[in-house]
């Protein structure tokens, strides 16, 4: 039978790689190297920012994003070994928001690993999180890969101590472009823990680090930034295959620094613009990243989503599930030594932003 060309299908059809990018998850099968016992699938949900209004009311739009991600994760085929929640479950760290988030996440049929975000932390300094949800710094081994989870959204004590109330502290950390803000950091205690943790594994062991903020510097006014990122990177560089997965930036973003590959996860709530759209100040946005086009504001879910991660021979292939839009796949290119979009990396292949009349 002739392959149907629907409008959507036509856009999707482009080329073989394009087709691979748009296939249902269960049908995507990449070929990989010899160590295929290490290949498996994860899901990554992040930055839901569930926002309590009052009583039983929460911001509908953000609830819907997380619920949809949970539903779609449950239908994954093959099933993920586990799901990572990448932080910022809550908007203002309120217990109501975290509990509401747990309720929604409880519908997931897969094990969950948690990463804390600043919106979960700065009201009660992570007490509820550590008591009811998860540790904030830990590591584990899974199918030959060493996973490390860091709390990368700590900051300086002087800033912590300057606020009259926990609410004031939380609100100030939640603001973008806040002249009273403070950069994130991992801090010496965790750096020392990380040094010890990594000393137990061989340099050939693939390492995947999961943090909320990017463990490199992109744009300080929005805290797309970790102040002591270089110190973390220095501990990771000796390993042959290192991937850092992070949330926080609410956009497609990927980078390579030495041996370390960085991949950002989508938010289920809303997209941020790219820092270069804010031209007043310099930025360090990675040049290899192919930006997403501007979201269609009619569709609340456009430019939000979640990720399916295929762990292939110790490297992460990131299949962005982009709602109301075309999926994108970012994959480490062995020859080039950095991650590329399997369809759009070549500028000629890109789709121009939608033209309105």
């Amino acid at each position: 039978m002739k392959k149907k060309i629907t409008r959507r299908g036509f856009i999707k059809a482009g080329a073989a790689v394009a087709a691979a990018a748009s296939l249902p998850l269960g049908l995507v099968e990449f070929s990989w190297g010899k160590n295929d016992r290490q290949n498996f699938t994860l899901a990554y949900i992040s930055d839901s920012h569930l926002t309590h209004i009052k009583g039983t009311e929460f911001v509908r739009n953000f609830d819907k994003g997380l619920k949809r991600a949970v539903t779609e994760c449950n239908f994954m085929s093959p099933k993920p070994d586990f799901v990572v929640y990448g932080g910022d479950l809550a908007q203002l760290g309120k217990r109501e928001e975290l509990e509401h988030g747990l309720e929604i996440m409880s519908r997931l049929r897969h094990p969950i690993r948690w990463v804390i975000g600043e919106h979960d932390y700065y009201l009660d300094l992570g007490r509820f999180w550590e008591d009811k949800i998860s540790k904030t710094t830990y590591s584990f081994n899974h199918k030959g890969i060493h996973f490390v989870v860091l709390n990368s959204i700590l900051t300086y004590n002087t800033w912590m101590n300057r606020w009259k109330s926990p609410e004031e502290r939380m609100n100030n950390m939640a603001r973008l472009d806040n002249p009273e803000g403070s950069p994130f950091m991992v801090g010496n205690t965790q750096l020392e823990w990380l040094r010890k943790d990594l000393s137990k594994i061989s340099k050939e062991t693939p390492v995947v680090v999961m943090s909320h903020s990017p463990l490199y510097k992109i744009f300080k006014p929005w805290n797309f930034w970790t102040d002591d990122a270089e110190k973390v990177q220095a501990l990771l560089q000796p390993f042959e295959k290192v991937t850092v997965l992070h949330g926080h930036v609410h956009q497609i973003l990927y980078n390579q620094i030495g041996n370390i590959t960085f991949q950002a996860m989508m938010s289920t709530a809303w997209p941020w613009p790219y820092p270069p759209s804010y031209i007043q100040k310099p930025n360090l946005v990675p040049k290899i990243t192919v930006f997403m086009n501007r979201a269609d504001p009619f569709h609340e879910r456009d430019a939000t989503g979640w990720s399916v991660l295929n762990l292939e021979d110790g490297r992460v292939t990131n299949h962005y599930k982009l709602w109301e839009n075309r999926d994108r796949v970012i994959r480490y290119d062995k020859k080039l030594g950095y991650p590329v979009d399997i369809e759009y990396q070549n500028p000629e292949r890109r789709i121009p932003p939608q033209q309105h009349y």
Partner: protein, 370 residues
């Protein structure tokens, strides 16, 4: 000379049915030119043949069902029922959409499982709850033994009787369907004909609400020079989702297995209510498509009820209520669908606007509906 005569006969036949010969220069006001496939150009003989085939009940297992049974020209090419009724009164799972302006869709059926009107026309013949034939051979047999069909096929396609096959049949039907187009509604005269009084004040207010607060236009498209009232995409409004939600996981597993064994979708879709409710997913197997159905055109909507893919909503008032409340909540709800907070007046205005989308040929039906 003979060709010209045939052409006029067609015009007379079609104008009686209230339809215009498309692909010509007289596309009704408000519609773009009808897309005509390169391998099935229109000609009058083909259109006449197509109309006859469309109405022939012999092409069903018990000679009771023709295309026109569910797409009745007297009922604006629908059947007025919630879901289709085929041979032996067997019920399908989906509402029969009108043929009017279906030529503008880029895919056919509620789930868009085929691309063309030609391919669409094949489906119902061999669907067990529609025409109920095992294959196409009885159709070809009836045609070749008929007194008139062989010469009509010859005029339409230049084909010998022995060479007539199902593709000729569906090409003729599709050619006829491409003439079943209709614009020239009060809305068209107001919008594209610059007749300020063509629509009532309420309908004019309704148009504004349609394009702004009620967020209709994003899917039911109106453009600068014409309006087909569909984006030709698929959306989840949550209608009928309750039928599958509790068992969704098991249903999806079932259809994944069926697909991997290569089972025919058509049969599966219509026999199984549950699988039917999966909508576009059953075609693409993409999780995002669960519960998504094609955006139907809104032209003549006031005379083509009941509404939605399952015909579960009887009146336009109730449809407006559904959108006002933000669809039926479900995890896969389209993100353009959200509560609208329309006032009672705005709902009434919207309804008046929808009625103003009725073409002249169907105005009588509109009056009878009141």
């Amino acid at each position: 000379m003979k060709k010209i005569t045939v052409f006029f006969v067609v015009l007379i036949v079609l104008s009686v049915a209230g339809i215009t010969l498309a692909g010509g220069h007289d596309t009704p006001l408000g519609l773009p030119p009808v897309p005509i496939p390169a391998d099935n150009q229109q000609n009058p003989a083909k259109i006449i043949l197509g109309k006859r085939l469309f109405e022939d009940k012999r092409f069903s297992a018990d000679s009771t069902v023709s295309c026109a049974t569910c797409h009745d020209p007297q009922k604006a090419f629908t059947d007025g029922r919630p879901v289709a009724r085929g041979i032996q009164k067997k019920k399908g799972t989906r509402n029969s959409p009108t043929v009017i302006n279906s030529a503008y869709y880029t895919s056919q059926f509620w789930d868009g499982r085929v691309e063309t009107l030609e391919e669409q026309a094949k489906g119902p013949f061999i669907n067990p709850v529609e025409h109920g034939l095992k294959d196409f051979s009885p159709i070809i047999e009836i045609i070749t033994k008929d007194h008139e069909y062989p010469s009509l096929f010859n005029k339409a396609f230049g084909v010998k009787t022995a060479d007539i096959n199902i593709n000729h049949v569906v090409k003729a039907i599709a050619s006829f369907e491409r003439t079943v187009i209709s614009g020239d509604s009060p809305f068209d005269r107001y919008m594209y004909g610059r007749e300020k009084d063509a629509m009532s004040k309420a309908a004019i207010r309704g148009l504004d609400i349609f394009r702004t607060k009620a967020r209709c236009q994003d899917c039911h498209t109106i453009s600068q020079t014409s309006a087909i009232f569909t984006d030709n995409k698929f959306h989840n409004l949550g209608v009928g989702f309750f039928r599958i939600e509790p068992k969704l996981m098991a249903i999806v597993e079932k259809i994944r297995k069926a697909k991997s064994k290569g089972l025919a979708l058509d049969e599966k879709v219509l026999e199984k209510q549950e699988i039917s409710e999966l909508g576009r997913f059953a075609v693409t197997m993409d999780i995002e498509d669960i519960g998504r159905f094609k955006t139907p055109t809104l032209r003549n909507v006031a005379v083509t009820g009941p509404y939605m893919h399952d015909g579960s909503i009887e009146t336009l008032e109730e449809v407006i209520e559904l959108y006002d409340q933000g669809g039926e909540d479900n995890p896969m709800l389209d993100s353009g669908i959200r509560p609208l907070n329309l006032t009672e007046q705005e709902k009434l205005d919207l309804l008046e606007f929808l009625k103003a989308l009725t073409s002249p040929a169907y105005q009588t039906l509109l009056k009878n509906n009141k």
